[in-house]
């Protein structure tokens, strides 16, 4: 477990998170009002944000493992864990309902603190309770 706690990895995560948070702010995704403009089909900018972010990541996920045998500070390249499709889709329905009510998804809930959007504390409390309930529910199954 030691390699995961290496200072270099933790500082990398801090720097990567900072780019992520800056991008969420620059794109307006930290504003629930902008998310609702998309969800009410008045401004499709959110699609551009997702497209441009996913394309950048796709290029990195494709090319980097071909150029390097392992990450700069790590031991191996991870993969996004696959879950059964039924679970993924059912969860996505529930997630979509929540997102459609609050206009805030997990990234902007955290980054919102940095733009002074203090009411995201309500979302963070909700997300924490929701994550806890999911843990209890999943292991009850």
């Amino acid at each position: 477990m030691k390699e995961h706690d290496a200072t270099s990895s933790l500082l990398s995560a801090l720097l990567a998170g900072a780019l992520f948070g800056f991008g969420l702010s620059l794109s307006g995704m930290v504003k629930p009002e902008v998310i609702f403009q998309f969800l009410l089909l008045r401004d499709f900018g959110l699609m551009l944000v997702m497209l441009s972010a996913a394309t950048t990541v796709m290029i990195a996920y494709k090319i980097v493992p071909r150029l390097m045998s392992k990450p700069v500070f790590g031991t191996s390249f991870g993969v996004h864990p696959l879950q059964p499709t039924r679970r993924v889709v059912l969860g996505a329905v529930v997630f979509g309902i929540g997102w459609g009510i609050s206009g805030v998804c997990p990234g902007p809930a955290i980054a919102g603190l940095g733009v002074g959007n203090w009411p995201v504390v309500y979302v963070i409390v909700g997300l924490m309770v929701g994550a806890w309930l999911e843990g209890r529910f999943t292991h009850r199954e």
Partner: protein, 158 residues
Amino acid sequence: MSALAHLFPSGVASYLAGGLFIGAGVALLFVLTGYIGGVSTFFSAVWSFFSRWHHFQQRGLLTSRNWRVMYALGMVLGAGVFTLTINHGHAFVTKVPPWQLLVGGLIGGFGARYSGGCTSGHGICGLGSLQKPSLAAVITFVVAAIITAHIVRALGGV
């Protein structure tokens, strides 16, 4: 009005540039550490510090919780840098009512963890890995959110 201006009344530049920064963050995390930078796992990982419940003591959470906390701190920091520089120190405070934020957060938190990802985990990392379940998840949660937002609006919400 042209089709482009109709679809994007606020222009496209800030959306594309913002997405590029988000993608650069997730890509940098991958290059430096090999980690997959979804966000919603953070909330379960935080529980691993406090809850003895075996679900929250899974190895995947225990080995990733430290970097996930740093990743979250970085997100706050990056948003703060944006606020102090480009936004000239102006804070943004939403007018969405607290009940919507709390209830939406709770339902969304459950769903994201059950689904194994949110807008970042499925929408950016999953699509970036060309995973079909993630594509299904994105289409599903976008449609569900669009329908929900219309209903909430019709019922008098924001």
